[in-house]
């Protein structure tokens, strides 16, 4: 027999029980080191405080396209050498762009730490001279194929592209999606990208985190050696302020008829910025609502009323820090269920959240979040990305340790409060997908 509640494990007060040491170079580059000798590998992670929220009209997708260009060579690194050198060292590498920021990261066997730092410094300080029209043209095609593969050629693939402009007004930094528009990508000029690098890829606009088999003293010395000669930039222009978007005054709906296999509903709300006390409550709420077989959506819509397909119910917050972050709730209709019935069921479950959740639901959500947190920090790469995030967005990498205890401290009242305030029907975005061949169902009038 397994008893559930008599094996309560005391939560550690800190979700980051590893050492953290920080330094700031004279040029403003913040360096964060967390030593861990468990495996002979080291993760190098850089957050640049620039994302698609910085893009003006007509230049959507540029921050992400630029991220691709960072792999195409710099003054001392010939085209294609970056990938070859990291993989040839046994390392893994990648980069991602989102509305808030751009991150670059590699995990390498520890003896190649210096190589990774040299490569990162060369493209931070020496990209522009190596950037050619040919490279831009090639990577523009790659990105357009990425857009086709991930958004256009997949059923429901464009949902995120549609939700953002419905959630955020024109001019808001989150109004457009990071992948950008084909028209803007086609118009991208070389000079724009040269200027983009000069403007944002400065040491004082970045955080370098190194986690794993290396000492802080060694990393600080190497960081100074490779990055120390780079000049800071004094006047980095901020992104438009999106922290207080105009209040939502009416519910918004959009219906898409497309080549999709079943009706699907998305309900979306603006909530609170990632990092706020309220957003922690939203995270717990989303987990109670949509994560796992014990969640409300699963129990009520997939298992109970049998309106939704069990594999396709979800609720999650998108962890954005510079404006009220979205909460996205979604369900896909079971065979024979029409979109109206699915929406009614989904709305009922979401609207009931204002009445609160139970203590058991709260405990379940917290337990799942604890496992998710430890999974995130179980690799040196995951830990390095967390340290970069908290240093960039909250000014102190050690605040990474606060997230898990903050989730564990969320109360039933706080969950009720954010559900009541953030999920009001009059502020809801509803996006509906209908199959192209859908006929009016006979059972509904």
């Amino acid at each position: 027999m397994v008893a559930r509640s008599d094996t309560v494990v005391p939560m550690p007060p800190n979700g980051f029980p590893w050492p953290i040491e920080t330094a700031r170079l004279d040029n403003g580059l913040r360096v964060v080191v967390s030593e861990d000798r468990t495996a002979p590998v080291v993760a190098v992670n850089l957050w640049y405080d620039v994302g698609s929220r910085h893009e003006p009209d007509g230049q959507t997708g540029f921050a992400h396209l630029f991220e691709h260009l960072m792999f195409e060579g710099s003054v001392h690194v010939p085209k294609t050498e970056h990938m070859r050198l990291i993989q040839g060292s046994g390392g893994s590498l990648n980069a991602t762009t989102n509305p808030d920021r751009t991150n670059y990261f590699e995990t390498v066997p520890a003896e190649h730490l210096e190589l990774a730092l040299w490569l990162e410094a060369d493209r931070m300080g020496g990209l522009v001279p190596a950037l050619t029209q040919e490279t831009l043209d090639n990577q523009r095609e790659v990105v357009k194929n990425e857009r086709r593969q991930r958004y256009e050629n997949v059923p429901y693939g464009d949902a995120w592209l549609r939700l953002l402009p419905l959630l955020y007004p024109p001019g808001h930094p989150y109004h457009h999606a990071t992948i950008g528009s084909m028209a803007d990508l086609n118009a991208a000029a070389l000079e724009t990208f040269q200027a983009f690098h000069s403007t944002y890829y400065a040491p004082n606009n970045a955080v370098l985190s190194v986690v794993g088999d290396a000492t802080a003293a060694d990393v600080f010395a190497l960081a100074d050696k490779y990055f120390g000669g780079l000049a800071p930039r004094a006047d980095i222009p901020p992104a438009p302020d999106g922290t207080r978007p105009a209040p939502v005054t009416a519910a918004v709906r959009e219906t898409v008829t497309a080549d999709v296999p079943a009706p699907r509903i998305y309900l979306a709300h603006r909530t609170y910025p990632f990092g706020s006390r309220e957003y922690d409550a939203v995270t717990v709420l989303a987990t109670a609502l949509g994560n796992g077989r014990g969640s409300r959506l699963y129990q009520r819509l997939a298992d109970g009323a049998r309106l939704a397909q069990p594999d396709y119910v979800s609720a999650y917050g998108v962890d954005l820090a510079h404006a009220p972050a979205p909460l996205i709730v979604s369900a896909t209709a079971r065979d024979g269920i029409d979109a109206a019935a699915l929406e009614a069921g989904l709305v009922e479950v979401v609207d009931e959240l204002a009445a609160g959740i139970t203590a058991d639901e709260l405990d379940r959500a917290k337990a799942l979040l604890a496992t998710a947190w430890w999974r995130q920090v179980s690799t040196v790469a995951g830990r390095a990305d967390s340290l970069s995030r908290y240093a960039t967005q909250f000014g102190d990498p050690a605040r990474a340790g606060e997230r898990l205890p903050a989730w564990q401290a969320v109360t039933l009242d706080e969950v009720t409060a954010v559900a009541t305030e953030a999920l009001r029907p009059e502020t809801r975005v509803t996006l509906t997908y209908l199959p192209e061949d859908s006929r009016l169902p006979e059972e509904s009038a």
Binding site: T80, G91, L115, T379
Partner: protein, 448 residues
């Protein structure tokens, strides 16, 4: 701007050590001091290869049905009990095995494993629930098959191995084969295959986990081990190339799956084959990605690999390219495969491939989940405890001649099946004119 121009060399290499493997009484475990999360996986010889004809996918239905309540509690109570520990069941069915596992904070692992055992050994399997799970699985597969990829892969698999063979049909079945699964099929599969003891894999901080207690929970009341499925199957390549065009009207990309049959996983050429496939298309810097993505800009990515199980294997190249460049992308891809087969690899390329594959062992094997996966490899393929250390040494020792010979022996550019899932109206003529092989147009699988 002051940058250091000289590229630094490596420091002193620090040896990677795979954790000590503990084997006793059906348990294979690894001690990972300090890891917050621990993993337990029950590995059963009940993979897709064990599924009866016409019922492909029954294993996945069984896996889902296990969570629909047990002898002790209903499905909602089961979900709350397990998720209240921060754990969820994860199940995978591959060709050789049926795996069901839990990951949880180490202190909670015993309770999670007790629940795992309860679901595997004493599921309720109420006929109404089983029928509903089956129907949901059919719907989920239809959703999956609406995306590009599954139909192309099914067409490739059928051509390589023959649709009359289990491994010539999709690993998780297709909407039709799962729709044919009856409640009795599910009950029979459970009775026939999930009562065996199996092997319990545990990875985590064993100072906080009593593995013998875990073993007692999962092995209580189990039956006899099952008979071995048999040895490797013969490798028969086709006599010439064949293009199979799977129509996907309106597609803005063509999904490519190119392949041929290959030896099984424990073939003695495993290491040089893996390195040859890495040089050709296994890494970002490999020949295919360099040409098709970085030079041509046809795709977001392309990769090649040998996919191998206990009894069979295949070589496969996967990509998605813009519709308008389908034919030139195929010509370039076949050209690189042929060049690698004929001319082998260079030392410069191989140096990257061998360091990458060897380094990846230490980079990837950090977490309890990854170590549990490595333990499963040892068990499924009957490998010794020092396998990962030996593999690393073998990768680093492979020379150009050995790897080039493996490319010559195990790549067959002239016997490829080239499956293209895309807009047939737009690309058929160009494919027919490309001189790559005859074109067969299909709506595979035949739509009902």
């Amino acid at each position: 701007m002051t940058l250091i121009s000289e590229r630094p060399g490596p420091g002193a290499a620090r040896p990677y050590r795979f954790p000590e493997v503990i084997r006793r009484d059906g348990i294979v475990a690894a001690h990972l001091p300090g890891q917050a999360l621990a993993v337990a996986v029950l590995l059963l010889d009940a993979g897709a290869g064990r599924e009866p004809d016409g019922r492909e996918g029954v294993g996945a239905v069984v896996a889902k049905a296990l969570e629909e309540g047990t002898a002790a509690r209903d499905s909602a109570a089961y979900a709350l009990a397990l998720e209240g520990l921060g754990a969820e069941l994860f199940t995978t069915v591959d060709w050789d095995s049926f795996r069901i596992g839990v990951q949880a904070p180490a202190e909670r692992l015993p309770d999670a494993v007790a629940l795992l055992a309860e679901a595997v050994r004493t599921p309720r399997l109420d006929p109404a629930d089983v029928a509903r799970v089956r129907d949901d699985e059919v719907t989920a597969l239809r959703m999956d098959w609406a995306e590009p990829g599954p139909r192309a892969d099914a067409a490739l698999r059928a051509d390589l191995f023959g649709a009359d063979q289990r491994h010539g049909r999709p690993l998780h079945g297709d909407p039709e084969s799962v729709a044919a699964v009856s409640v009795d099929d599910v009950v029979d599969f459970h009775r026939g295959w999930l009562g065996q003891p199996g092997t319990l894999l545990v990875a985590g901080d064993l100072d906080r986990v009593d593995i013998d207690a875990l073993g007692a929970a999962v092995f209580a009341g189990t039956g006899a081990p099952v008979a071995d499925a048999g040895g490797p199957l013969p490798v028969k390549t086709r006599s010439g190339r064949q293009i199979i065009l799977v129509d996907r009207p309106g597609s803005v990309q063509s999904t490519l799956r190119l392949g041929h049959v290959a030896p099984h996983r424990s073939h003695p050429d495993y290491v040089p084959m893996a390195l040859a496939a890495t040089v050709l298309g296994g890494a970002f810097t490999s020949r295919l990605n360099h040409l098709i993505r970085e030079v041509r800009g046809y795709t977001y990515g392309i990769r090649s690999e040998f996919g191998q199980s206990r009894r069979f294997g295949r070589f496969v190249v996967s990509s998605a390219v813009q519709t308008a460049v389908t034919a030139p992308a195929l010509v370039d891809t076949v050209g690189e495969i042929a060049r690698t087969q004929a001319d082998g690899v260079t030392e410069e390329e191989l140096a990257v491939a061998r360091s990458w594959r060897a380094g990846q062992l230490s980079v990837e094997l950090q977490t309890s989940g990854a170590i549990a996966g490595a333990l499963a490899t040892l068990v499924v393929h009957g490998l010794p405890d020092d396998y990962h250390a030996t593999l690393r040494a073998a990768l680093l020792a492979a020379d150009v001649d050995t790897v080039s010979q493996a490319a010559a022996d195990h790549l067959h550019a002239g016997a490829l099946t080239l499956v293209v899932e895309g807009d047939a109206e737009k690309i058929h003529a160009e494919l027919a004119a490309a001189d790559l092989g005859p074109v067969l147009t299909t709506t595979f699988p035949p739509t009902s």
